[in-house]
């Protein structure tokens, strides 16, 4: 029995895992996975989501200042620093014990008046928190009371932290909320295409001074490549940009997690049709995305020509990449620390399969997996991707060790390529380091390249991923001089130490 097996882990296909795991937030799930707590909360997901609207949109928090700090800590550091989002002003009602007991309607009204007067935004979005929601503060009544007095449009996006702690559930709730901010279309641009599903990726281009591309350029390239026009990239832009989003003919999808909920809500509200392919990465993945759009827009011929030309440019690189990675296993570590993400990583999995690799996923918390209905639908039901997933207890979110995963699968260092999301990737000089196991930085947070999407979408993103994989395999042939990171995490940082230990064993 392997170590993982003895600890209660087992490999299931994603489909089987989906069908056999209990419903989220049930006693059965709690027993299976003790100490599951989620990653963030609905308030942070919702507020950061709406803070992607810029210039004339202000998100007001009705709750304690602490909630704003929790959100701001990410929003004003990583999101702004590395993803081209400007500083988001975050006025807050600063709810205290008194307001929790007596109600916070007055402080909310005062805050809205002040924000309207001082910040003069076109749109104010109110998000609420555990405290204000649990005491049943009537936010809508306050909005009604201020009608006529406050010039900005004011809307309420309920977001109590506790309601849907699983990331998938919290994110799903944002779809109808963002659609409710939009106006019914006056005219439909028959050539216009929206791309939904951007999250913390400012719609700001390298040509405008961005140092490392987001994903906007990739979609502009794909959509204009078949003779259509990008109407809106959501979320992004100012209030006028947002409110006129329904004037596109169709909604295409960037990420299912963020895009599907908004697309469903826009379809319901405005009748905007939407397409289900997402994350165009890899030759096949990009072709499928483009052709689905082309079929809808009646531009198959242009698309076929465009795709063929782009594929021809990448043919040599594709073959080279395939030569390097074919037959290897792509170890997909779905966030060692948060265990919540797999959508973007699975798109790398799709790309890897096309190159002749096998793929498996681990460190994805079963409750997070089960909450992400849209990712599952996009990959498993629509694309038919059904890789092996390591299901097990992950007590208190403790990760499994990738070396145990390799042992469990009977793989050696030359048979794997390791990708991960977020931070704290595994490393240990002497046994698991970029110098001896191929490692590619696919993390949404960490991957930044000039001239290509940091999510790897589009043809430039695909090319970059191929180059990255080739280089990773080449680096892993070194078998000596481990990285500083690997040495820091290891109890045998020096080669003389671990070589001695290897010799002993």
């Amino acid at each position: 029995m392997s170590k993982l097996e003895s600890e209660g882990y087992r490999w299931l296909s994603m489909k089987e895992a989906w069908e056999t795991l209990p419903e989220i937030d049930t006693p059965a799930f709690n027993e299976m996975c003790p100490g599951y707590e989620g990653v963030w909360c609905r308030y942070i997901w919702t507020t950061t989501y709406f803070q992607q609207f810029v210039n004339d949109v202000v998100v007001v928090t009705h709750g304690p200042l602490s909630c704003v700090a929790a959100m701001k800590n990410f929003m004003q550091t990583h999101y702004s620093l590395h993803s081209a989002l400007p500083f988001g002003h975050s006025p807050c009602t600063n709810m205290d014990e008194n307001a929790v007991i007596m109600g916070g309607g007055d402080i909310l009204a005062d805050t809205l008046r002040r924000v309207d007067r001082e910040y003069r935004p076109k749109l104010i979005i109110i998000t609420d928190t555990c405290a204000s929601n649990m005491i049943h503060d009537d936010v809508n009544a306050v909005i009604s009371e201020l009608e006529g007095e406050v010039k900005a449009k004011v809307v309420f996006a309920p977001s109590p932290g506790f309601a849907g702690i699983q990331s998938g559930k919290a994110i799903e709730a944002t779809g109808p909320q963002v659609a409710s901010l939009m106006d019914p279309p006056q005219n439909i641009d028959q050539n216009g295409v929206n791309v939904l599903g951007f999250y913390y990726d400012g719609v700001f281009l390298e040509s405008e001074g961005r140092k490392h591309a987001g994903s906007a350029e990739a979609y502009i390239h794909l959509i204009e490549g078949i003779g259509c026009k990008v109407h809106r990239l959501m979320n992004g832009g100012n209030y006028d940009y947002l409110r006129t989003a329904p004037e596109a003919r169709v909604n295409a999808i960037h990420t299912a997690a963020w895009g599907y909920p908004a697309a469903k809500a826009m379809e319901e509200r405005f009748g905007t049709p939407w397409l289900k392919r997402q994350l165009p990465m890899g030759l096949a993945g990009t072709r499928d995305w483009v052709m689905e759009l082309a079929q809808f827009m009646g531009r198959e011929a242009e698309a076929e020509k465009f795709v063929r030309a782009e594929e021809a440019k990448l043919a040599g690189l594709f073959d080279e990449a395939r030569k390097h990675v074919e037959g290897k296993m792509l170890l997909i570590e779905c966030s060692r620390n948060s265990q919540a993400k797999y959508g973007e990583l699975l798109a790398y999995g799709r790309l890897a399969k096309e190159l002749g690799m096998e793929i498996c996923l681990y460190c994805l918390h079963p409750q997070e997996f089960k909450s992400a209905q849209d990712d599952y639908e996009a990959f498993v039901e629509i694309e038919g991707l059904n890789p092996q997933l390591l299901v097990g207890p992950y007590p208190y979110h403790q990760p499994v060790n990738v070396e145990d995963v390799m042992a469990d699968l009977g793989l050696n260092e030359d048979q794997c390529v390791y990708i991960y999301d977020d931070v704290f990737p595994y490393a240990k000089s002497g046994s698991f380091d970029p110098s001896n196991v191929a490692r590619y930085t696919a993390s949404v947070q960490m991957k930044r390249v000039k001239g290509a999407s940091y999510l790897g979408v589009g043809y430039a993103g695909t090319a970059d991923s191929y180059r990255g994989l080739i280089e990773a395999v080449q680096v892993a042939k070194r078998k000596s001089k481990p990285t500083f990171f690997g040495r820091v995490w290891s109890s045998t940082p020096y080669e003389f130490q671990y070589r001695k230990e290897t010799a002993k064993s």
Binding site: D25, T26, N30, P34, G35, Y36, E37, G38, W40, C41, R42, Y43, I44, G63, P64, L65, S66, C67, V68, A69, A70, K72, N73, Q76, T77, H78, S80, L81, P86, F87, H89, S90, P91, C92, T93, N94, M95, D96, E97, A99, V100, I107, D110, T111, R114, V115, E118, T129, C130, A131, M134, I135, P160, G161, F162, A163, I165, Q166, P395, Y396
Partner: protein, 460 residues
């Protein structure tokens, strides 16, 4: 002249970086190395707690925060059972050797729901014999200073033992409330300086502190608070244990002028002033050995002189930094943005800054919103701002160079060299940091981009 503005004094609305009470408590308890924290609440709050706890890691310890897994179901049905199960797991050493003590913190949701964390903790403690201290520290009960005070009070109530012997030395209280992003290395050097000046350190509450050491809190003569916030409950309880709290503690030792005042003041009262002077002289010799007759130093010290700056962050750090810039570097500070939780904090900061108004014109803003602060700084037309990582996009977005020395260590503050900003030796680091922001503020990079050399057309 010093002009004081309190733009938010007539409203509860705020827009500033102020984590809630449970963070303050966890920053105190996470500096105690042989304990475990249990966090009972929603994960968004805990994400912040786990991250800020990381401030204590460099040259410190990793003290786990074990979450009870409070989900929507618990918000409706109550989460006592999960709290109890987690306390049992923690006591049994599930994530760390069985701890000497478990501290329980909670978030808004269970607090509003009326969860009896004290009762559950008491029950498990009686059954298992592991010390458990529950702290009612939801985010809405106050900011980090209030949370720190709640934890300190619990420690005094439930852990500290009475002291009958001679009281000596000082307790250094709540280092993270200084407001320095270099806090781990600053507090370590402050302790080093005090020891060199013959001041006995009875306890640092907390930094690499052992649980058993907490018991001897009352053996100190006095508490040195590293915050300007009023902590009335803590002071009263400490008085009852026979340990007074210094009410007029000196400005934090950032820069030579502040360090001289700080160390000699404390040495005179609790240590040996002569030793302190000898130490300061030796330290200055080392600094001069690096800077004296250095062309680079002379260039930068001259370059930075007479420039304009703004500073924002938690009051103790900002006050010290304002004095440092003005006194040590001859920089004019035009805008001072102060964060603080209590009136006493603002009064104290004002009192310290006021004498500067005799020789410099500047504006002090008390708890401004980021928008108000940004506008004031923009209008003041300063060359650079010293603030926190979280306000870098604001000021840089306004086209003003920014240096993140304030706030928390965690998240994109890359201070890996264990060198303090405080003390005489800290002046070297401060000078190096200021030199970086001078580069951002004064290098004419746009001109380089616009007028850089372009090779002529290629010829056959």
């Amino acid at each position: 002249m010093m002009k004081v503005l309190s733009p938010q004094s007539d409203t509860q609305m705020r827009d500033q970086m102020q984590p809630g009470a449970f963070i303050g408590s966890l920053m105190i308890t996470s500096g105690i190395t042989d304990v475990v924290n249990v966090y009972h609440g929603v994960s968004g709050c805990n994400a912040m707690a786990q991250h800020f706890r990381g401030d204590l890691v460099p040259n410190g310890a990793y003290v786990p925060i074990l979450a009870t897994g409070f989900l929507e179901n618990e918000a409706i049905m109550g989460g006592g059972a999960k709290l109890e199960a987690t306390l049992r797991d923690a006591a049994g050493g599930r994530v760390k050797n069985p701890p000497k003590c478990i501290f329980v913190s909670l978030s808004d949701c269970p607090a509003v729901g009326g969860e009896d964390i004290e009762g559950v903790s008491r029950g498990v403690m009686e059954e298992l014999g592991t010390k458990i201290v529950a702290i009612e520290n939801a985010g809405f009960v106050g900011g980090i200073a209030r949370g720190a005070e709640l934890a300190l009070c619990k420690i005094l109530d439930e852990i500290v033992e009475p002291w009958e012997g001679k009281r000596e030395g000082i307790n250094v209280i709540a280092p993270f409330l200084m407001g320095s992003a270099n806090m781990p290395f600053d507090i370590d050097h402050m302790v080093e300086m005090l020891k060199a000046a013959g001041v006995k350190i009875n306890l640092v509450l907390s930094r690499n502190t052992k649980y058993d050491e907490l018991k001897r809190f009352a053996a100190a003569e006095a508490n040195l608070m590293l915050t300007y916030e009023e902590m009335r409950d803590f002071v009263r309880k400490s008085d009852a244990l026979g340990v007074r709290t210094l009410s007029d503690e000196p400005v934090l030792p950032y820069g030579i002028g502040n360090t001289e005042e700080w160390l000699l003041g404390l040495a005179e009262e609790f240590g040996d002033a002569e030793k302190a002077k000898a130490y300061l002289i030796e330290e200055m010799k080392k600094v001069r050995n690096i800077l004296y007759r250095s062309y680079n130093f002379s260039w930068m010290a001259s370059f930075v002189s007479d420039k304009y700056a703004a500073v924002c962050g938690y009051a103790p750090f900002v006050v010290a930094m304002t004095r440092y810039l003005f006194h040590d570097l001859n920089v004019r500070v035009k805008v001072v943005g102060l964060w603080g939780e209590t009136t006493a904090c603002m009064e104290k900061a004002r009192k310290i800054l006021e004498p500067l108004g005799e020789t410099m014109d500047f504006t002090v803003m008390e708890n401004p919103t980021y928008y108000q602060l940004g506008e004031a700084v923009r209008e003041a037309n300063v060359d650079f701002v010293i603030g926190a990582m979280q306000d870098k996009p604001l000021f840089t977005g306004l086209g003003i160079a920014h240096l993140n020395l304030a706030g928390f260590y965690y998240f994109n503050n890359y201070n890996f060299v264990p060198w303090p900003l405080v003390g005489v030796k800290g002046s070297l680091r401060l000078m190096s940091e200021i030199s970086k922001v001078v580069g951002d503020a004064f290098y004419e990079t746009e001109a380089w981009k616009k007028h850089g050399f372009v090779a002529g057309p290629e010829t056959e």
